[in-house]
Point group: C2
Chain length 362, copies 2
């Protein structure tokens, strides 16, 4: 088997050792005579997987006792609807910091069920090319929460300093950069993240909730959608997608073996540095549309002089066994998704190819 170098935006590449481990015990999980997929979500075997996954997340993100790890289904998109339904009381408004397609969607869903407003934007001349700084935010001190998207996969921007929301709970969609580096979880009311970029495969969403916020959930919300229900039932109020959780556990084990969140940051800065270095050293050929201070360490985007050359680069990369570098259909260009699992050596190979391509076509 020739394993390709996979820059997919999510579902994304997984560590090879994690896949090999899962394959090995796929038929007979830890000598139980059945696949993990066939185990009851209420049995002792899965319970160990569940606990270890939570405990690894707690350890790797240094989650304080004030916060609980919850698992939910539906991805970040379901959270766009569920965050306001859970955390915004009757008559309350919520603040949204706008930095791209995902925050657009989050705000749009929030407006369907109540009041929500823009509290800042990264839009310049109609394009999201940066994230706003603290001084640019117009926060409502009575808001139910302040919501932002920490990394913007389509736009290639990322918050490097998180907003200060004062006493108002801070809510972050970290789907595309959770665990990319150490963070101070105590600053957040809620962090949520679909697993399929930095944590595992598609099919499970991780929530890190400040527990006291579960007490304000409206009783008009169906029980299955209340964070309080998850909190009271250890996320086992109904059948949990056991296999996606198990894969997250395996990825988290791998992160710990690599040295944890600090090691991830070093590794990710090295990879992103290689790509931005290549761009900045060839300003006549490569152009990153994002302001330098807002550049993403997870999903760098850039353009070539023409769309024709972009297509050619995509084709030459594919011929060399590198896939997934086509930019999102809404913006075009090149996007290299280099989440935690992407190997630095593979990024180097792409950078080499792109440098040679620039030399030949520039």
């Amino acid at each position: 088997m020739a394993r390709v170098i996979n820059f997919n935006a999510g579902p994304a590449t997984l560590p090879l050792s994690v896949l090999e481990h899962a394959q090995k015990e796929f038929l007979d999980f830890e000598g139980t005579g059945m696949s993990l997929l066939e185990h009851s979500h209420r049995g002792a075997t899965y319970a160990k997987v569940h606990e270890e996954t939570k405990s690894l997340l707690r350890e790797l993100l240094d989650i304080p006792d004030t916060h609980e790890v919850l698992f939910m289904q539906g991805g970040a998109s379901a959270q766009f609807a569920l965050v306001p339904m859970n955390l915004r009381g009757s008559g309350e408004s919520a603040d949204y910091i706008m930095t791209g397609a995902w925050s657009d969607k989050a705000l749009s869903e929030a407006k369907i069920t109540g009041d929500a407003r823009e509290a800042g934007t990264g839009k310049v001349d109609g394009h999201y090319i940066r994230v706003p700084g603290q001084s640019e935010l117009a926060l409502d001190r009575t808001a139910a929460y302040v919501h932002f998207t920490s990394n913007n996969t389509i736009m290639g921007t990322q918050f490097h300093d998180y907003p200060d929301s004062g006493e108002v709970p801070l809510v972050a969609d970290m789907s595309s950069d959770i665990l990319w580096r150490p963070i101070d979880v105590s600053k957040f009311g809620l962090i949520y993240a679909g697993a399929q970029k930095n944590l595992g495969p598609a099919g499970i969403t991780v929530l890190i909730l400040r527990k006291d916020l579960a007490e304000r959930i409206p009783k008009t919300l169906p029980k299955i959608f209340r964070y309080k229900t998850l909190l009271d039932n250890d996320s086992l109020q109904n059948t949990i997608p056991t296999f996606p959780v198990y894969m997250v556990r395996n990825v988290l084990r791998w992160v710990r073996e690599q040295g944890g969140a600090a090691a991830m940051e070093k590794r990710n800065r090295q990879k992103a540095g290689a790509i931005y270095g290549m761009i900045d050293e060839n300003p006549d050929f490569f152009r990153c549309p994002v302001e330098v201070e807002s550049r993403s360490m997870m999903t760098p985007v850039f353009r070539l002089p023409t769309e024709e050359l972009e297509k050619k680069l995509i084709a030459e990369a594919a011929a060399a066994g590198m896939v997934g570098i086509k930019g999102h259909r809404s913006v075009g260009g090149i996007r290299t998704s280099i989440y935690n699992a992407t190997e630095p050596a593979d990024v180097e190979k792409f950078v080499e190819l792109a440098r040679a391509f620039a030399k030949k076509n520039g």
Copy 2:
């Protein structure tokens, strides 16, 4: 590896050949150089899996063009909330036929967001031991829909004739018996089923929706929860759990190889017949609390003379490599979940063991 005989209630046993196939291509899906888990949900490779899964379901359940196959997350429990949110208009009521813990939960969630009423019950002296017949239903002709649970895993009951709801759309939670036999889909407004019993692993919910019903969905519902959004986007409005869908495809391929829904019915009647035969032939030792006409072909339940003997049978079965026969914690006793994937030969082995146990302990 010694594979156990697994009577788990769900997640449940899967066909061994299905697991072996998935294991074999786990690292390199169809020569693409990556795992199916790493493929984009918007790429051509996953698109083929998605299409084949829908197409197999259409073929095996003979789904008419009036209906569409949709995939959602959250299990049946999410549907308990989403069915009324989608299908019940402002001021409308919905009818629920009560047959156990699952219909209790469905009604309870429906009441949180609007009007819903009991339209019939299988309760006798405080216990759900049967399903009500057509003449026992008191249906509201102005109801938004009539909801029922086709098989009741905890109680061991099953509808063998489906309710006739007239012009009112009929909604069925078929989580624990979808595809157990051929059905007339045209009679239903909506069928929904968590995959983890008859269709695959946990993590995906199948919906079969009469398309015209999507037009009545209230605009006050967040877009991500509207069936109309799924219908308009082929269930790809956001990242779908690709691996659970793929496993469902593999299970459906297996069902077709076995001869389809008709073959499943024959196989399932044979298995359930063996268990009920054993019970009826030993009336002094085994007792099925369910009325004969309402007995489940998927999840037969029965009692022994004492709880001590039940524990002993569970232990002796475990020693013989048979697991998962302990009844639900809310009702006790023995439950043998014998979904499509359970091999008739394995049921025979259990029946042999239980017969010998009765002889020895009766």
